[in-house]
């Protein structure tokens, strides 16, 4: 499968970036790769030659700690030359450990502090309505991020306004920084929470790209409501010794681990 191959290349890049730049959050970045691949290769209406076109769909990576996923996807998709990523996290680079709005084409918002992306997205969706534009707004949240009250403030307003061109995808990998997300806060049942907040809700395998294409493309889905997709994912997905091991929230792979990862991804 072509898309799986893209996802593998991106995962290898994430491992390499974490190793070279000595930056954390690798597990979180790996868990949302397939979601981003589905969005950028099959869902979002974007033109890499006109990245600021007013009619473009907007994508917001609200879980900004997965910045490398966004960077690698944008580079792979052709928004900027892949070589630019070599500067990632080095002093003076535009690519910091969390994204900064406008750092490169395709980076729509600044994120890093959790719970900010959805309110921004609601504003963008309202802007589209005010200006009679039919662009859509898609936000990826982490499950830990759903601890933030501002997420639920935004969820209430989006439903009240019937923002049917707005989609939330929760990268539900069941972990937050220091523990199981369902133990730290009472996050379960997550899909029912979104549903009860007035959102049209779907639950999917967040690593099945074909299914993601199909479900994420349904925006608007005809319900007149904003759409929430709870994507069941595995933190550290794609690299056996990182999968569902929360040490990789902060751990940085050494050279041998980078080699093993590349081997598993079929890139050696």
């Amino acid at each position: 499968m072509e898309y799986e191959a893209i996802a593998r290349r991106i995962r290898a890049k994430l491992v390499e970036l974490s190793h070279t730049a000595k930056t954390a959050h690798l597990g979180s970045s790996l868990s949302c790769v397939d979601i981003l691949v589905a969005l950028y290769w099959g869902v979002l209406r974007l033109d890499i030659h006109q990245p600021f076109d007013e009619a473009r769909d907007r994508f917001i990576l609200s879980k900004g700690h997965a910045a490398t996923s966004l960077y690698a996807v944008l580079a792979e998709r052709g928004f900027f030359p892949k070589e630019l990523l070599d500067s990632y996290a080095s002093p003076g680079s535009r690519f910091s450990e969390h994204p900064i709005r406008g750092a490169a084409p395709g980076i729509e918002v600044t994120s890093g502090s959790l719970g900010h992306g959805l309110p921004l997205a609601v504003g963008m969706a309202l802007a589209g309505r005010i200006r009679n534009q039919d662009f859509r707004v898609v936000v990826v949240l982490s499950d830990g991020e759903c601890n933030e009250g501002s997420v639920w403030e935004a969820a209430l307003l989006a439903a009240a306004q019937g923002l049917e061109r707005l989609m939330v995808i929760v990268d539900y990998n069941k972990w937050q920084a220091t523990g199981r997300s369902e133990e730290v806060m009472s996050i379960r049942p997550l899909a029912e929470k979104w549903k009860s907040f007035g959102w049209s809700t779907y639950e999917v395998d967040g690593h099945d790209i074909e299914t993601l294409f199909r479900v994420l493309s349904q925006l608007p889905d005809g319900s007149g409501k904003p759409v929430a997709v709870v994507a069941n994912t595995v933190k550290g997905k794609g690299i056996s010794f990182m999968e569902d091991d929360n040490n990789w929230h902060y751990r940085i792979p050494n050279s041998a681990e980078v080699q093993r990862a590349r081997q598993e991804l079929g890139l050696l």
């Binding site: 007013e54 709005r101 729509e108 918002v109 600044t110 890093g112 502090s113 719970g115 900010h116 959805l118 309110p119 921004l120 997205a121 609601v122 504003g123 963008m124 969706a125 309202l126 802007a127 589209g128 309505r129 005010i130 200006r131 009250g149 501002s150 403030e153 935004a154 209430l156 307003l157 009240a160 306004q161």
Partner: protein
Amino acid sequence: MRNAFASELTALAAGDDRIVLLSGDIGNQLFEDYKRKAPRRFFNCGVAEANMMGVAAGLAGCGLKPITYTITPFMTTRCLEQIRVDVCYQNLPVIIVGVGGGLSYASLNATHHSCEDIAFLRMLPNMTVVCPGDPLEVRQALRAALDINGPVYLRLGKKGEPLVHSQLTDFKIGKAIVLQEGEHVCLLSTGNILPVAVQAAALLAKDGITARVVSMHTVKPLDVALLSDVFDRFPLVATLEEHSVLGGLGGSVAEWLADRGHGYARLLRIGTADAFMYVAGEQDFAREYFGLTAESIATRVRNLYRQTTLKASSTSLA
């Protein structure tokens, strides 16, 4: 001030389809006319200020000119994180309007007082802080804020404040307005205490002390040209604000003065104390409580002026 704000905003919104008003579930009657003129550009965002600020940033990022409006502490400190990250870090043109600045809503207790907001917001890079002194300044400040391509904080009083200016044509953000000339002291006022500054000047005049009264409506950026002049010209410069003496206009001027390293004038900061109020009372009572009536301001200025000039004359005699 809030009526002047609503009427000016309504007039502006009718002619500029980028203007979007976000309300934190207040001002229902106030914005009836606005809603008639721009029904698709009004959103009651509910009692959820953090979200409202993020929504404003999202709108601004799409080329609109959002204006957020609710009671000052909820519009500032409640959602400071969103102001800092979404609005200021992204440097987006959101106009943040706090109604009930300072002690305007004194009777509602310190949950509704706002004596720290200037300090918090002026710390933020990219932010402009404007505290109009009367309804005419409110109108002009709003117009000027819409021309700034970045975050602006507009701090209003409540309703019914008197007009201080009879007319106002040359309002510029960052440019203080000299209301009246005087020879002996200079009063720099920001925000809704401006009418009190004028009254205090009148009381001082009875004692033969004439005051230059300045509406320093912009706390950030400071009008340093005016400051340089008055600190070289007068023996005493007093800052007046319905805000803590920490971090507001007085704090800003003190910082500027420390960096400047020289100045003829002595600085007197008059504002609320570093304390909450734990008793009931309307704005007039609260002003008494914090020593912000015309009488107490005049007394403090008069005493320090006499002390300062006495010391100066005895030094020159020696």
